[in-house]
């Protein structure tokens, strides 16, 4: 599943609305609980594990991509 689809599923929006810059500022429903759901879904989908700091800091689609890139996960 695409990263954008994961984020869109959790937020309940269309994947078209999700950009690389998308962050909690753009979606009121992107609260701390939704953010953890996004991170846990990314972990399940790409077989990676986030450190607590990474969980808390990766607060945009781009930042999530950076973590995945650092961990050597192939994503689209």
């Amino acid at each position: 599943m695409k990263l954008r689809q994961i984020v869109a599923n959790v937020l309940g929006v269309s994947p078209d609305e999700i950009r690389k810059s998308s962050s909690p500022r753009d979606f009121p429903q992107w609260d701390s609980a939704a953010h953890i759901d996004i991170v846990l879904s990314v972990e399940a989908e790409y077989g990676v594990s986030f450190r607590p700091e990474e969980m808390m800091d990766a607060l945009s689609v781009g930042a999530l991509e950076d973590v995945l890139r650092r961990k050597g996960a192939a994503f689209e």
Partner: protein, 600 residues
């Protein structure tokens, strides 16, 4: 899965998949499910369980609507009648706590504490839970589910002995707390943690980042277990399991290999089938009837039962047998008819996928159990089958199999009697009627829950709801019956409530199908009428609500002589009392109980 819920199959274990599934569920299919509000009062952040609960509920026919007490408020929400928890009018309340939260010093100061002090801390934690349970029960008559404890995430390395003993101590105390309170059930989280393993259960990152101690696999497992338990609270267990014989009770085809050739014994593979028979016997011991639906020659099968030394189950263990070459849908119909149970109370276990598919298509009401091809996994599959789940096993359940064996003898006697009246008088039926109290409440609740055919109003009450009715002044009677062939047990119950000062209404009236056709229902009616009259009733009102399944009860009040009035049935006591049937001898266990039902 039919009913448009296919999208719930094979969900990826990821929050995003469940978010999407829940959205789709709520957009339509949920409307066909039975709605059920569940309030979760947890000592940790339980909110992430919500989506998993909705999905697992939907898989079992419920639209679970979870509500979570805010973090740190589980006791406050339970103990305040005006709280948001009660404002949401929950149908079930789950109390989920951890010893880590209720008694943190138990683990922090483990080495500094004596064993007695550890027990005291654990006991105090349990007693706090008991207080919350009592507060919930007194504010709202709904079932309560309480989590027990698993061992802490940080265990026993180095010098420390495993804290298992203290956890067991606390869990034993919780068991006692639950068993002393009607409608309270323990959710066996300890067992769940064992099955999953502590390393899978706990996710330290989530604990520290969000105060949700459990990882996604454990959250899903908790939701599944909780939904299963909630289903068991609301759905009565299947009454009978019909099993195949060849490659089910023993290995091999009897007709081909003969009695000496079937796999059944002390070594592999025969021991696998023996253990499966033990699992069936355990079901029978808690009240599930066993039946045989097999394509075989009955004479050969009886030879196996009579002479194979490794058979665990006896021929008499089966309440009904259909052994012939006819189709199995017909066999199952005959079994249901003989045992006087509905097809929806019947489960079917057969190793042949062809037979399973046939029964599924012919008799969609029957629960067809998925049987793994690997015999080693079959006993576990029986345990995983939720059709036999029941939250409490009553003394009646334990005796049921014997009761049906008595029935087979009665049928034989009936065949020899010239008429029904002769038969009834030769049975020598004795009935006992008494007031519903703490000891009989669970069985009465079970009877009201499970009875379909002779159920006048079809109203279903949980134990706490029944208790609330009693506390509110309702008259409730139970009836036991016995005859010369054996004891039927507690087989009837009736509840009457005051409707104005001189008028009482029979709110519920149920009689087990085991005792139908012996006019015992008249004895129960006479008893409840007598009690209502003693409380000042001048008229007794009966109702019949067509549930689609209670046709045997339709003409009950008319038959006794009640008069129709505005869709209900009325007996004026000015006409006299309702008479106890002459062919039944009546025993009253407790004369003082006559006053028990009167509200004042």
């Amino acid at each position: 899965m039919s009913n448009g819920l296919d999208f719930l199959e094979d969900l990826s274990p990821s929050p995003s998949a469940y978010h999407a599934a829940v959205r789709r569920l709520r957009s339509g299919p949920a409307a066909q499910l039975k709605p059920l509000r569940i309030a979760v009062a947890a000592s940790f952040t339980a909110g992430p369980l919500g989506n998993y609960l909705e999905v697992e509920g939907a898989r079992r026919g419920f639209h679970l609507q979870p509500w979570f007490a805010p973090y740190g408020q589980f006791e406050l929400q339970c103990s305040t009648p005006e709280s948001a928890l009660f404002a949401g009018r929950p149908d079930v309340v789950a109390i989920a706590t951890r010893l880590e939260d209720l008694a943190p010093s138990l683990w922090h100061d483990w080495e500094a504490l004596s064993e007695l002090e550890r027990e005291q801390l654990a006991a105090q934690a349990c007693d706090r839970i008991a207080q919350s349970i009592d507060a919930v029960i007194s504010t709202r008559a709904c079932p309560v589910v309480v989590f027990n404890f698993c061992e802490p995430s940080n265990g026993s390395w180095g010098v420390r002995r495993s804290p298992a003993r203290i956890v067991e101590f606390a869990n034993a105390r919780l068991d006692r707390i639950a068993s002393e309170r009607p409608g309270v059930t323990v959710f066996d989280f300890a067992r769940l943690a064992l099955e999953l393993g502590l390393r899978q259960v706990f996710d330290a990152r989530l604990e520290y980042v969000s105060r949700m101690p459990f990882g996604v696999p454990a959250q899903i497992a908790i939701a599944k277990g909780l939904a299963r338990l909630i289903r068991a609270i609301h759905v009565p267990p299947a009454k009978c399991l019909a099993v195949d014989l060849d490659d089910t009770l023993w290995g091999g085809i009897l007709g081909e290999v003969g009695r000496g050739g079937i796999a059944l014994g002390q070594d592999y593979p025969g021991r696998v089938y023996r253990d499966f028979q033990y699992a069936l016997r355990a079901l029978r011991q808690r009240g599930i009837l066993l039946a045989i639906a097999s394509k075989n020659n009955e004479a050969e099968v009886r030879e196996v039962f009579a002479h194979h030394l490794d058979m665990v189950l006896r021929w008499e263990d089966f309440a009904a047998t259909q052994i012939h070459w006819g189709d199995k849908a017909g066999s199952l119909r005959a079994i249901a008819e003989q045992l006087r149970i509905g097809l929806d109370a019947l489960a079917f276990y057969d190793d042949s996928p062809v037979e399973r598919e046939w029964v599924r298509s012919e008799l969609p009401e029957v629960t067809v159990i998925e049987v793994p091809t690997d015999p080693l996994q079959r006993t576990a599959a029986l345990g995983a089958c939720e059709a036999f789940d029941q939250v409490a096993v009553s003394a009646e359940d334990r005796r049921r199999a014997t009761l049906y064996a008595d029935d087979r003898q009665r049928e034989a006697a009936r065949a020899q009697s010239p008429s029904l009246t002769d038969f009834l008088s030769t049975l020598g039926i004795r009935v006992t009627v008494g007031p519903v109290d703490r000891a009989t409440l669970p069985r009465v609740a079970q009877l009201i829950h499970k009875t379909n055919q002779f159920n006048l109003t079809g109203r279903r009450y949980t134990e706490p709801e029944l208790q609330a009715q009693l506390d509110g002044g309702a008259i409730a009677c139970w009836l036991r019956a016995a005859d010369r062939f054996g004891d039927y047990g507690l087989v009837g119950a009736a509840i009457a409530v005051a409707e104005g000062s001189a008028s009482w209404r029979i709110d519920s009236f149920v009689l087990s199908c085991r005792i139908l056709g012996r006019q015992v229902e008249r004895a129960l009616l006479a008893a409840i009428a007598q009690r209502a009259a003693a409380c000042g009733a001048e008229r007794l009102i009966g109702e019949f609500a067509d549930t689609g399944r209670n046709a045997p009860a339709r003409d009950f009040y008319a038959g006794v002589g009640f008069e129709a009035e505005g869709g209900r049935w009325v007996w004026e006591f000015s006409r006299g009392a309702i008479e106890h049937p002459a062919h039944l001898s009546l025993e009253v266990p407790d004369v003082g109980s006559q006053q028990r039902g009167c509200p004042q």
